[in-house]
């Protein structure tokens, strides 16, 4: 995006959820990596002050010198605090402070910070803290768009609904929804809310369906994004979310049931007999 005065204007997108533990940080890391793989200049910002996490998920924890609060309080320049990704030169991380509390940053400072970042990058992805307090409000303060991550569970969907109300009240426009950790087998048995159920309840636009996938555990253990793993269903789903964010029309694939070792064995066994 370009302003009329020729200044570069990247998109500031906040990833939030209300409830903790639904996959905000994993979504931010994978979406950031996917957008960079697809040619964008991307910065991911950890706005969870005091509970720094995005750095370990991305495998960049050993490179941190300065953090977001150092920049805001003038101890470091923005460029000094930005950490380059191991593989992708166009992907950067701005880490959260680990030793400060969540009120170390004000809303105005976040708006100012995102304003600086959008001049340098095409996408500024902000990983919001859980909850509906100051940390969340700061995280959406400078955002043009909001992505809400939920899982198909009653508590996560309820909190997502709360967050949607707050995002709408903050006049950020209608948020987009990522439904994370879908288990197709449970959905087929009627024992898990389907994506359609969640959409009917929350009534916002869907931008991603991410299956529950054990490869996320492995990739997080290694500090690598799942989008690099071509075997990872979740990784492929995040690549699709990135393409949709960039305006491409990508159909939602029908999720395959992930089979366990035993089932695979019996599957083969069964076929032989028939």
């Amino acid at each position: 995006m370009q302003r009329s005065n020729g200044e570069h204007m990247g998109r500031v997108i906040t990833i939030t959820s209300g409830k903790g533990g639904v996959g905000k940080t994993t979504t931010t890391a994978n979406l950031g990596t996917a957008l960079a793989l697809q040619g964008g200049r991307v910065v991911v910002v950890d706005a969870d002050i005091g509970l720094r996490n995005l750095d370990v998920v991305m495998g960049l924890e050993n490179r941190i010198v300065y953090d977001l609060v150092d920049v805001v309080e003038g101890r470091a320049r923005l460029r000094q605090a930005l950490i380059k990704d191991k593989r992708l030169p166009e992907l950067c991380l701005l880490p959260a402070a680990q030793t400060r509390d969540k009120d170390a940053v004000t809303r105005e400072q976040m708006i100012d910070l995102t304003g600086q970042l959008r001049r340098e990058f095409d996408f500024v992805l902000i990983d919001s803290p859980a909850g509906i307090e100051n940390g969340f409000r700061n995280a959406i303060a400078g955002a043009d768009e909001v992505i809400i991550v939920t899982t198909p569970e009653v508590s996560a969907v309820r909190d997502a609904d709360r967050i949607i109300g707050l995002v709408e009240a903050a006049e950020k426009g209608p948020p987009n929804l990522v439904v994370n950790r879908i288990k197709p087998r449970l959905v087929n048995r009627g024992e898990m809310l389907s994506v359609e159920d969640v959409l009917e309840l929350l009534a916002i636009t869907l931008i991603g369906i991410v299956p529950d996938d054990e490869s996320i555990v492995t990739s997080t253990n290694r500090g690598e994004a799942a989008v690099y793993d071509h075997q990872s269903q979740a990784g492929r789903a995040f690549l699709d979310v990135a393409r949709r964010l960039r305006g491409e029309e990508v159909p939602f694939p029908v999720l395959q049931e992930q089979q366990g070792v035993l089932e695979r064995f019996f599957g083969i066994f069964g076929r032989r007999r028939s």
Binding site: V154, V157, R158, M192
Partner: protein
């Protein structure tokens, strides 16, 4: 649901539809902030208005629910009318 059906793991509603029904009620409650007290108050007032036109409307018998629709939410009230008192008025 019968005892034996339960015992043999028979026809319980799939938990997803239970979850959906519960969430519909909870989300509406979250959005409209209708406490049980205000709901009771509403029933008394509904009964008051209806009693001007109909005989024997009992506030305690009224069931009020808010249901979520695709575009709008809906207020649904079930109001039983007592039979067999045609001589009123």
């Amino acid at each position: 649901m019968g005892f034996f059906e339960n015992l043999f793991g028979g026809r319980r509603d799939p938990s997803a539809s239970v979850a959906k029904q519960r969430l519909m009620m909870v989300l509406v409650d979250d959005r409209y902030k209708l406490t049980p007290e205000t709901l009771e108050q509403m029933k008394v007032e509904i009964a008051g208005v209806l009693s001007r036109y109909l005989p024997a409307v009992d506030a305690e018998q009224i069931e009020v629910k808010i249901l979520r629709g695709e575009v709008n939410d809906y207020l649904k009230a079930d109001i039983p009318l007592k039979r067999g008192q045609p001589d009123v008025g």
